[in-house]
Symmetry: C2
Subunit: 142 residues, 2 copies
DNA sequence: GCTATTTGTATCGTATACGATAGAATCGCA
DNA sequence: TGCGATTCTATCGTATACGATACAAATAGC
């Protein structure tokens, strides 16, 4: 008796995450954003001017992912990257006017995604919490 | 009041999927497999000799992802790709002896992943079903 | 004050993902 | 039966991801 992908939790996670990005596409494409770029902006809207490493800590991404991502966003005119004069090792990421304006232009996105999921707010919160707990368990085991 | 990534269901999905692949790494790396390759093998163990399109239907991946993936697996000696003689448009994917033998070599993987999640079997099944339902809702809205 | 270590970011190589397009084989229908 | 439409897979271009490594700036000890 063999287990098929459809029965595996890992595949549910994997395929649902793909479907999630697909659901975001019609919402983000008109804004010229990819999903990871939208995530970076969401982080900066709450915490402008943070360091690359701080962004990585919040989004759980390494610099080898973030640096090229941020460079594309810089080219797109959404953010600026500046070495900290105090500590030249650090790079501070700041929103441009366009990056800040994107917050209003994307104001409808969360509502659109919620509708796409078909979930109620409490269902969404419960699922989010279950996933976060599972993620932290997996991360704790190194 | 701004929403930060930590509060967003999409980010929970996104980051938990990354953590899932990281949890699989110590289990699959000794076998020389990536997670998507392991998924393909899992599908073939139940359904050897299926068409590229069928694999895509089961794994929800397009040929532009599968073709290079399968070629790498062919190079690694896990599968063969052969045009169907009946219908030359179709390519059939068959397990090699090594690909079939991998089923035994990977027999401990599901148990290892289950432990990494810290979930009970019923919890795992419940989460899987919630995710599958959400995925199908998102996919239906196309 | 000087160097070994640590810290923060970037680069390189490889493997997914996916939209758009191409191209060959088969099918449908007049 | 002939040929345009459809089907199936592959290719191309771009954007993530991440392990391994590089490298400059800052810090710690002696």
């Amino acid at each position: 008796m063999t287990i098929s992908p459809a029965d595996m939790l890992c595949f549910s996670l994997y395929s649902t995450q793909h479907a999630m990005q697909a659901a975001y596409k019609p919402l983000l494409e008109p804004l010229g954003l990819t999903y990871p770029q939208y995530l970076v902006l969401s982080a900066l809207w709450s915490n402008d001017g943070c360091k690359v490493g701080e962004l990585g800590g919040e989004l759980l991404l390494e610099t080898n992912t973030l640096t090229p991502l941020l460079k594309r966003m810089e080219t797109a005119g959404l953010v600026t990257r500046k070495r900290d004069t105090r500590d030249e090792r650090q790079v501070r990421v700041h929103l441009t006017a366009d990056g800040r304006a994107m917050q209003d232009r994307a104001a409808h996105v969360p509502e659109g995604f919620l509708r796409a999921t078909g979930l109620s707010i409490p269902q969404l919160a419960a699922l989010r919490d279950q996933l976060n707990a599972m993620r932290e368990t997996m991360r704790a085991k190194t």
